[in-house]
Structure formats: C-alpha cells, structure tokens
Amino acid sequence: MRRPVVLLPLALVFGVAATGTAPDERAHRAWVDYALHCQGCHLPDGRGMAGKVPDMRGQLGPFAALPGGREYLVRVPGVSTSRLSDADVARLMNWLVRRMGPMPAGFEDYTTEEVARLRADWLRSPGPVRARLKAAMAEARVQAR
C-alpha cells in the first residue's frame, strides 16, 4: 500500500510541470477574474438577470457544441473587450464552460492563440448571432428527441 503515497506527489509534480501552475491555483485565478470582471452583472452563480443579462447556467456547454458557438462565447463584447489578457481569457473560459456546463463531448480547451484570433473579430452586434445560435440549439434539441 505504499505505492499510491509515492505516486500522488509525482502526479502533482508532473501536473504542475504540464500546465505551469497547479490546477487548484488556475481555478482560483479564473474565479478571481470572473469575480472582478464578470460577476457584477452575471452574478456569482451565472444566473444573470432575466431580460437584461442572459442566464449562463447549463447554457455554455450547448453553445460551445454548436458550429460558431464556441467562437461566439469569446467574440461577445463582454469577453472580447474585457481588460483581461488573452491567456487570462482562455483560462477563464475553460473554467467557466466547465462550471456552467453541461460539458459537451470532446470539448477542447481554448488556447491563448485562439482567443487572440477571436477577440480581434469581436461582435459589434451580438444579438442576431445569439438569436441564430439559440434557434440552432432548439433545432438540435428537437432532432435529438
């Protein structure tokens, strides 16, 4: 029964080496960025305000799974024009999509480069894009039935 005790610290060391920081630390930084830049309007649990701020709970996964939806989540003005760096936005979004869920199958983490590319093309008018994606989401749900 000694082996797990030896392996656990090793796993931690390799985990830290792979991502640069420990997973807990990354999640904490993402939470701090969410608190300082998002939750004033989206609220701590992402529920937002009906009619003013969209409810993100259970929504980010389905959005990320749609063609153009993954891009939309970063191209919305609140994300794109925030004062966070591209690396911070990537860390925040990877944390937030998982937290709001449900996770789509085969979700791949946003990379800093992808975020930089998407932010350069931020949505001046997100409303119509959102409406189109919501319609596609409803259609996908009907087909799945």
Binding site: W31, A35, L36, H37, C38, G40, L43, M49, S82
Partner: protein, 173 residues
C-alpha cells in the same frame, strides 16, 4: 367507569402488541432526519442566494469610518451609518443583485480580498458617512469596475439609492 378502564387497557395492550419499540425509535430517527433535511431543500431560497455570502476575515478598524479597509473603492453613503452594516442593507432596503467588484488590502494579514460593493436600494439617499475613496475605480465606460453607476437599476425596488455595502467575497491572491 369499568368499561372505560377495560377499553383503555385493551387499546394499550393492542398498541403494545402491534408495535415494536425499536421500530418506533427507528421511525422517529428517520422522521427527525428527514424533517431536518427538508429545510435544506432549495425551496424559495432564491432571495437568500441573491445576496453574496460574506466571508469571515480577520478584522481591524471601524466600519463606521471611511478609513476602514474594505471601503478602499467605495463611493457613497456607508450602510453601517445608516442602520445596516458593512455587509448588510438597512431594514426596508433591498441589495442590488448586480454590482461592481474590486479588491482591497486587509491590513491585518496583508492579503488582498475581493470586495463586492452592493448598493442598498428602495429608500431615498441616507446622507450619513459619505465616503468616496474611489481607489481603482474606472470611468463609467468601463462599467464593470465603475463606482459612479447607480447599481440599483438592477433591483425590483427601483433606482432610489440609499447606501453602499462592502461585502468580502474571498481572497484575491
């Protein structure tokens, strides 16, 4: 009288025969557990969840003074001078669910904490303990970190601003 006596004895004996005392204890335990757990069910807790949960931190200073550490970026009347506290609204007012969020350094442990500046709304301006330290506040065209906005626009109580709270959400470091 005797008939009453006999009826009572019969009922007592049949109850004793028909029930198990251990079973009763078991059911009583289950009842206590379930009734305890039922109050934890998410029934009508929407209001309770709206106000951010205050975090306990080591404290120093006077919450009725503008110099108090949590007020580093406040702009308005301090709720602790208006019948509320640094983290709760006075009676008769409603906390704005939307808010702006910043950080302040706690002099006791030297750590930075995330502070949510929730406005209390629904009554006219309190007028006591005006405090405008504005550290780190941005112009209103960067609204997520602007303290010049009336955040009461997000409440059901209307936009009447009464005072400001400074709620600690957690460590920022």
């Amino acid at each position: 009288m005797r008939r009453l006596d006999r009826a009572a004895e019969y009922l007592a004996r049949s109850a004793a025969r028909g029930t198990s005392r251990r079973g009763f204890i078991g059911r009583l335990g289950a009842f206590l557990t379930v009734s305890g757990a039922a109050t934890l069910l998410p029934v009508a807790r929407a209001r309770a969840e709206r106000a951010p949960n205050p975090v306990q931190v080591q404290e120093q200073g006077d919450p009725m003074s503008c110099e108090y550490w949590r007020y580093c970026a406040v702009d308005g009347f301090l709720c602790s001078c208006c019948g509320g506290s640094a983290s709760s609204c006075p009676p008769g007012t409603e906390p704005s669910p939307i808010t702006w969020v910043g950080t302040c350094r706690n002099p006791v442990d030297g750590r930075n904490y995330i502070i949510s500046y929730n406005d209390c709304c629904g009554k006219s301006a309190c007028g006591r303990c005006n405090c405008s330290r504005d550290e780190g506040a941005t112009p209103t065209y960067q609204p997520t970190t602007s303290n010049d906005l009336d955040w009461c626009l997000g409440t059901q109580a209307g936009v009447a601003y009464h005072c400001s709270t400074s709620v600690v959400l957690g460590p920022a470091d």
